[in-house]
Each structure stands twice: as structure tokens, then as C-alpha cells.
Symmetry: C2
Subunit: 235 residues, 2 copies
Amino acid sequence: MLVTDDDRKTWQTVQDEVRLRISQRVWKPGDLIPHEADLATEFGCARATVNRALRGLADAGLLERRRKAGTRVALNPVRRAEFSIPVIREEIEGRGQRYGYKIFLREMRVPPPDVQARLQLDGTQPILHLQTLYTADNRPYVFETRWINSIAVPDVLSAEFEKLSPNEWLVREVAFDGGDFTFSGIAATEQEAAVLGCKLGEGLLVLDRTTRQADRMITSVRLLFHPGYRMHTRC
Amino acid sequence: MLVTDDDRKTWQTVQDEVRLRISQRVWKPGDLIPHEADLATEFGCARATVNRALRGLADAGLLERRRKAGTRVALNPVRRAEFSIPVIREEIEGRGQRYGYKIFLREMRVPPPDVQARLQLDGTQPILHLQTLYTADNRPYVFETRWINSIAVPDVLSAEFEKLSPNEWLVREVAFDGGDFTFSGIAATEQEAAVLGCKLGEGLLVLDRTTRQADRMITSVRLLFHPGYRMHTRC
DNA sequence: ATTATGTTTATGTATATACATATTAACCTG
DNA sequence: CAGGTTAATATGTATATACATAAACATAAT
């Protein structure tokens, strides 16, 4: 017969069923759901399988689990939006556009106080400062102002950035382990409008990013996207 | 003796060690790492334990795993920033500020084409339209323009929104499954400046959000944050 | 040469079992 | 009855084992 009598119980099956019961409000927010052993017998599988399924849902924020207390449906399913922060070249080429970049400025300079704070520097040490415009099909895409802690990453001083943009150079040469992201909105100043080829006062999306490796602050970047840019994600 | 001879090998231990080797470039991006069985013997634990550890790192984007091909260190550790999208009240109260909101507009109206598209409506049906200003310590915090698919959620028509804001009402009454998020930046129009109490043309962060439940589009919101607002996260 | 076919191998998953750990609930004890 | 001790219990983890599955690789058939 053609019926796929696929009674096999995988953790996915269990997870889907639990997710369904939550979304259909069979189990309402705040409710205690049956414990693993009961669900295991109900679904005809091992407790480990149920555990895997429920753990996943707990990680996703849909369930809250505590030893002995049991598992309950989260009261406010902590909605999370996950942005993938791609290499700019890949983002542009992924849209089928031609990627390019141009370094406007490269200097050693003592950074302004806010950058000093983010990079945990003491205010006397000059570090590498770069301003780069990335283009898609020759049109301004994003303007990058980057400070690189060249004390922590001395190799960067000899980098040419001819083939590889600062963005890609760092991704390749330094193993990041974490960072901060901040989105904000600003109106383009005259300078910024000139670089991005837009009108004075246009609204722009700004992404400030600081990355570190093992407690050493590596770089602080401000990305100023072209007008109309939208940072999108699903969840 | 005082030495904690804690030789117990948990998946966390293994994960930490692997993470360390990646960040210290013992295993460089693109490298194939030993397979599970070998790591298991090296760490003196079961393969399942190694599997758990590596699976976690793969989920986090640090490793790429393929059957038969093995496990390799990701070339570009897909940096992900995860934003938690809190209920506005909690975000404001979490900062120790006084929360308030005021509904400016409540009407039934056929939404503009972009909203129609997002909500998958056919352009003839009026739905609920709300404009709400949320305040922190009586100062404008975020201006919300919300369209609710009142065909899918008829109960919303009888909601008063006196105790609960539209935001919280929906979180409580509807079990969302997913949605879209888009960040962008705009310059305040005269109207927007008036509502948010800022100057004409100031740069504002905008968050557009559409949420659905089981393929039914529920609501589409535009959040216009006050000037200087920063959406922040770590990773 | 190109296309099937099969073999090997590393990861993916399921299971029973055992013990660890956090936390509640019940029970003493002063 | 307060306060501490103990038992009960649900989740968390580790392990050995077994089999599933995808993909790379080798080999045979067209």
C-alpha cells in the first residue's frame, strides 16, 4: 500500500505536536504540561526523545522548565528576532549586484571618547582609523567608519586592504567571540549625504558594532546604510 | 586535598574545550576537526556527549557538519545578533520608568496597499486601525501604528484597551507563531515630530513587524521610536 | 565517458539504564 | 509553630548500543 505508515517517533514529531498544542491553546500560557515520562508513554517513545523535543522548545523560549517543578508554557513567549550579520560583500553579491569598496581615509589617531570606552582604551594611544564606502552596482551601499585596536591586532598595520576589505580582512584574520550590536536612526548630515549620494536630512539606519576576542576589544564599527535600506529577518 | 579533581566530562566541558581550540586557532576556519569517535576517546567520554557538544556549536554557527564529510570550523562564523522583542511596558518598567500609553486613533479602515500585502487581504475589507503613543515617565517613547486583522481576530473589536495596551492585549489573546521584522531609519515628518515631541527631520529608528499564527496574518505594526533610541543586543 | 550501483563512513537519532541535581513537599524536633 | 532535616520527584546528563541517513568514493554496466 502507498500509505506511509511512518509511526516512527522522532524528537521532531514530538516537538511539532507539542508546538501545535501550544499554538492551538490545548496547553495555554502558564499551564503545566505533563511530565516527560507521561509524554513518552503517550507518544510511545523514550523519555530521552521527549527531553530532546522539550529542551528545544525551552531554548526557543516557548516553554519554561524547572527541575521537580515541571514544564510549563511560557507566559510571554520571549519573541526573539535573529539577524544574521553577513559579510558585506556576500550580502551585496547575494542580491546579484556588483560589489565594490573604496577606502576614503586611513590614519592613526586617538579615537573619540565613545569609541575609547567601547574599545577599553586609555585615551592616549592612537589606533587605526578607516573610512570605507561599500558600493553595490557602483551605487553607495553602506558607509563604514571603523576603529581597529591595532595594539591587540598589530598585523592590521601591514594590511593593504586592496583585495580584501577591512571587513573581510578582520573576519579572516581574527577569531571573534562576541560583541555588541546597536541599531539606531539618524538624519544624514551634509557630509554623510555627500558620501552616500543622498539628500541632506534623509533618514538612515545605523548599526554600531563592537567585537571582541577573549576579552580583548578588537574593533568598533559604525555602518551607515544608504537611504531606504531595510534590515530584515523572520522568526 | 583541595584540588577539585572533577574529571567528569560533561558536554559543556567538551564544548568549552572545542570553542577554545577554535578561538585560539588550534583548529582554523575551514579545518576539518577530528570526528566524534576520536574526540570521544580523547576526552574520555561517550560519542553521544561529543555529539551534544558539537551539535550546539553547529547550531551557533561555529561549526559546519555534514554526514560522511565530517565537521569543520565555519569559514565565516555566521554572526547572529539575537534581539528579544519585549512587551513595551516591560521594556519601559525594566528601566525603572513610569509606563503609560494613549490611544490617538481607533477606526475601521481599508488599509493601504503595503499593509494589505503584508496581511494578505484583498483590498475591500476594512480592519481595525490603531495609533498609540507609549510614554516613559510621561515622555514620548514610541509611536505605534497598528493594523489588526479583525477578520481573523474578531474578539479584538470588543477590546477596550483601557487596562491593556493593544500590544499586550494581542500578546495575551493570540498565540503567535512567527513573523517578520524590518529595521529602517527615517527622518521625522512634521506630524511624527509633533507626536514624538521632537524636531522636524530628526532621525528615527523604525521597526516594522508583521505577526502570524498558523498562516493567518494577524497584525502589522510600525513602531517609531523617539530620537536617540537605541536597540541594543550582545552576542 | 557517462550513468547506475554499491560500499564505506561520519553524523543523526532512538533507546534503556543509571545517576546527578534542584526543588518541592512532608516530616520531624525543639 | 518555626526551623531544619529528609524524602520524593521532575528535569538534566552520561553511557552503551543499535540502527538510520547522507554523502563521498569506488566500481561496474551501459
